[in-house]
């Protein structure tokens, strides 16, 4: 997982609350065999509308989403996180997240930062007044900044630590890699190997 300490990218204002994961990615897209390639499925219904925020050229390269309360509620589908990441998002800021979505985000390196309702409105106002403006997300300080506007966000210490260290579950295990290698060095010769028999 990519390390996340400080990141700047175009912010997209999604002035909606209760964005459930069915909206983020409809069930029809769950049959695929990959974890990637879901970018076209992101917000599939809404993107049929040419005026939808992500269809506007100024926000086309957005990588920070600022959404209303209760983002990512409903179905547990990890595909919702995959779709956001595939589209290019590295962070989502919202006053409240669905629990499962927040957990899934942490596993996939997508920062889900909680902000106040008032700060969400301030960020929306700023991003809409100046389309294409960049937001800087500082995970070490837990602050999001647009020019002179700085708002704090919260994220639990464990997820923050894992994001800063760039550790997913596998990454965590690989911190013990020396022990794995040491274990392997003691592995008896009789134990199975799948390589073709010569």
């Amino acid at each position: 997982m990519e390390k996340f300490t400080r990141f700047s990218g175009v912010g997209a204002p999604l002035r909606r609350s209760d964005v459930d994961t069915d909206q983020i990615i409809p069930a029809v897209f769950l049959k695929r065999v990959t974890k990637t390639g879901f970018e076209d499925a992101l917000f599939y219904s809404w993107r049929q509308d040419p005026d939808f925020v992500l269809n506007r050229p100024a926000y086309s390269g957005a990588s920070v989403l600022v959404a209303g309360a209760d983002f990512g509620t409903g179905s547990s589908r990890e595909h919702a996180v995959w779709a956001l990441r595939d589209f290019g998002f590295r962070a989502v800021l919202s006053p409240r997240f669905g629990d499962i979505f927040r957990g899934n985000s942490g596993k996939q390196g997508l920062l889900a930062g909680q902000i106040s309702e008032e700060d969400a409105v301030r960020l929306w106002d700023e991003l809409e007044a100046h389309p294409g403006t960049e937001i800087t997300i500082d995970l070490v300080e837990r602050v999001a900044t647009i020019g002179a506007l700085s708002v704090p966000f919260s994220i639990d210490d464990y997820t923050r630590w894992r994001l800063i260290e760039g550790l997913d579950d596998i990454g965590l295990t690989l911190r013990d890699e020396e022990r794995i290698t040491e274990f392997e060095s003691r592995r008896e010769n009789w134990r199975p190997k799948t390589l073709p028999v010569k």
Binding site: T36, T173, I180, W190, T194
Partner: protein
Amino acid sequence: MGKTLAEKVWDDHLVAKGEDGAPDLLYIDLHLVHEVTSPQAFDGLRMAGRPVRRPDLTIATEDHNTPTLAIDRPIADLTSRTQIETLRRNAKEFGVRLHSLGDIEQGIVHVVGPQLGLTMPGITVVCGDSHTSTHGAFGAMAFGIGTSEVEHVLATQTLPLTPFKTMAITVEGELRPGVSAKDIILAVIAKIGTGGGQGYVLEYRGSAIRSLSMEGRMTICNMSIEAGARAGMVAPDAITYDYLHGRPHAPQGEDWDAAVAYWDTLATDDDAVFDAEVFLDADELEPFVTWGTNPGQGVSLSESVPNPAEITDPNSRAAAERALEYMDIAAGTPMKDIAVDAVFMGSCTNSRIEDLRAFTSIIAGQKKADGVRVMVVPGSARVRIEAEAEGLDKIVTDFGGEWRFAGCSMCLGMNPDQLAPGERCASTSNRNFEGRQGKGGRTHLVSPLVAAATAIRGTLSSPWDLVNADADTFVDPNAIDEAAAQQDAAEQNGTLRNARQGANV
């Protein structure tokens, strides 16, 4: 205090002991892969730029989606074809050995591992498939895992796991002819329920288990998951070693001696204590069959469909009522009065050579009942070849049955082999869930011997019901022909080498 078999294998694979409630980190000796649960796992590796840590401990086959007819033609179902093609691409990219459809080592993943001699005592085995418990028959710790865990094992060859509790299932006595391993496990599940094994590793013990062949032990361990247990085990013994010795990937020479010396230490210590114990009397056991829609809803074949009104637990009663409605059978119906439309002989539970021998020993020289479709699907390409060398395919086709290519087939509704809505099937597979064998299909789980007798009579039957049947007309599935087994192993080595030259590895 001594240790159980499961505890010994666990402790010998500890890379790191979990502290403060954190899980243990366990090393995985053998990772089996198939097309359904692996695509997102490989994709995860690709996204993170990680290699497969130990391709030399990983092996893949195609089984769930594969057709059992016309295997040389493109797979018609697009989703299935995509999954197969994805596995081929992933195996190539990550350097994982794959046995594709048409390859001599292709087959159901849980048949292929033991057949190659990769499954052995005292190892850890995982696969993205709940029937991985099969491999516990060798005294291995073997269990199914989810796709994110598949990715974890591919990347690290380890898994973070919380230790299981241990349960002893002791089966004492001698099975009567016509009663086999499948009847033991169906009776065990009926006794402890589909959730009875949750959180446990089951260890099957006792004289009835000790006298079973490896095939029989695999049948039993295979269905541990139907009792809710992630793993089931049998301590290794001379029968295990005889089965394994000489197989392509079995240890050889000094390695073999070192392995056996270690394997001999694995059996549960006399003073070890299990967290739970269950006993079953093999002498009294009759051929067993399920009447409902979970594997715990079973009775002896001589009994009748139970009456839900007599079940005291309200949840079980409601489940029984729903099951009888789905199965379209009335309470009180003698099981033997139930007519079937189909007989399926196959699946990772019962598709090994010994299963096919048992089945064909009953049907030889007979004709199937009118209107009953009989499908026989060997568990692997090699089992098919071996069976054909013995003329078993001819027995099946003369009987009026269909002889197919290897795969999971009608065990699950994922490939073309499915029941039509409302069709009723006596099946040697492992799950009688609603729609498992096809939407609206009705499944009765049975042993190969019961499947054969049912195919002859058209109604659920045991070999005991066959006219002129006596103890000599069918093979005792518990008996092992050692000379034949050794010859099999020797031939297998030779054929494998020959096949390898042209194999699509």
